[in-house]
């Protein structure tokens, strides 16, 4: 234990700049910075893009890490490929949030997808990522994608379009994303989905955020037939282990995908594969207990 200081740095290296995110006031994750590339204040939040020493470029909203180039593929592959390989024929995909473009990039790898509507509240996120993180934002130029700058809550209330899959690629339930965790938003999203529609929601840390999970899944329950949760790893969110909610309007074999279809798609991934898909639905005992009666068990396999 370093008694004398509290820097995320070694002795003799006190000038080094780090970004750090304190979570629950008890745990902190820090990344060494090489250079600040962008800083701006939008109507919704402070947006920064930095070049880190070990994790590529990084996007932060209000000082909270949204993604790093080193590990963003995991989050984006897992939010997109799990529902798109489970749904029998996904053609129309709605993305709420996801301004960096990573979720759209993975969705658009699916040749079955004909149309993607992405509703991002904060244009500055998109503009900054287009300029500074093209490896993530590049797919936003795909002609199958319609980019709407607006409030996702209003969009699902007012649109009359039908989608096969909705991906709620939201930040934490603080600031502009708070209404994306409410029952009325989930109801309106369910109404936008076809009979066999699937909604995926960013559902926080199984270790640290049980209360948020309980609240959001209770808010989803009235509007969906089945609710599951699946897990993946990140380098940039506190605790490493993270989760997505999987809500389907009818009974749906969330875990038991057609492995041949995954191979036949020839989609190139760096984290996702058929084994990882199935494994992601296996829950630790403490998660099972925390969410017992709230999410539906997935049959063993």
């Amino acid at each position: 234990m370093n008694q004398s200081g509290n820097q995320c740095s070694r002795q003799g290296d006190k000038q080094t700049q780090w970004i750090r995110e304190v979570h629950k006031e008890t745990v902190c994750l820090g990344f060494k910075v090489e250079k600040l590339l962008f800083s701006g204040q939008s109507p919704f939040q402070k947006i920064e893009i930095i070049k880190t020493a070990g994790h590529g470029k990084m996007l932060l909203n209000d000082g909270i890490v949204m993604l790093s180039e080193k590990d963003e593929f995991i989050y984006h592959e897992m939010i997109a490929h799990v529902p798109l390989f489970v749904h029998p024929a996904p053609r129309r995909v709605l993305i709420i949030g996801g301004g960096d473009g990573g979720t759209a990039r993975e969705v658009l790898k699916h040749e079955t997808v004909e149309r993607v509507v992405m509703v991002e509240i904060d244009q500055m996120v998109v503009d900054a990522c287009r300029e500074h993180i093209p490896s993530v934002s590049g797919a936003l130029e795909d002609p199958r994608l319609e980019l709407v700058f607006g409030d996702g809550v209003e969009y699902v209330k007012n649109s009359d379009e039908t989608f096969d899959v909705a991906l709620i690629d939201s930040t934490d339930p603080i600031g502009p994303a708070t209404p994306l965790f409410d029952s009325v938003f989930y109801k309106n999203t369910a109404d936008r989905l076809a009979e066999d529609g699937i909604m995926i929601t960013q559902s926080e840390s199984p270790f640290y955020d049980t209360e948020i999970q309980l609240s959001m899944f209770k808010n989803q329950r009235p509007h969906f037939k089945k609710l599951h949760i699946y897990l993946f790893s990140t380098l940039t969110y506190p605790g490493g282990l993270w989760s997505f909610g999987f809500a389907s309007k009818k009974q749906c074999p969330a875990r038991d995908l057609d492995e041949k279809r995954v191979h036949a798609s020839r989609i190139k991934t760096r984290y996702y594969n058929a084994q990882i898909h199935r494994a992601a639905f296996a829950l630790p005992e403490f998660t099972r207990e925390n969410l017992a009666g709230i999410v539906d068990p997935v049959p063993a396999g």
Copy 2:
């Protein structure tokens, strides 16, 4: 990004004490401290036990977090129950390292286990954990356990005892644990195992430590029939995702355990269960690629 300082603390809270561990000089993990409970310099390393604000008591060797009370169950359940539920009848277990007692605690939950030999090089770790972290060290008093204070490398070279399972519960390959990653140690450990013996090795981060993994698995390969790697989550190691090597002297269905045996054991766990066991062997694409030809694929299931 906090331009003005580099503390893991909020503004106005600059006196708060944090422990932090910098990894690869680019990423840092910090925990808020309430109290230093123990600090001592053994012949091998500096040993500290602290009470943290959010993660219970924590053991550090040379400033590196070994365990926290909040998440130690994951590491200890996964090092012990995976091989003990795969081995057909584990009676004799060797633990190298593991001075905190957590691995022994999980091993001794198995009624089939008749004898455990635990070889820990640093008595101060055991003494400090016995005094300050009884929730982890308590099982060290079990009469089935023989505690040997000595060098694990020498022990496997000189012993003529035979074991069913060997658990290499080592720190990183720096300091006293370095020889535990060498070929000669793996050969001597294999020699201590019965025909159907299994060796588990702490095998570092799939994100950050590929070079160590390549080296250690190459060193194991000549002495074992099958080598696998399996994954689990931690809160206290950089990146969250961590791994164990699974080495067996003969062909062994590492993944396909008898689920009924797990239930019949009535062993109480907080992370491990039969689904988690199977899921742990699913590897992300980047890990498959990093370790292609080095570890053996596990059949899909």
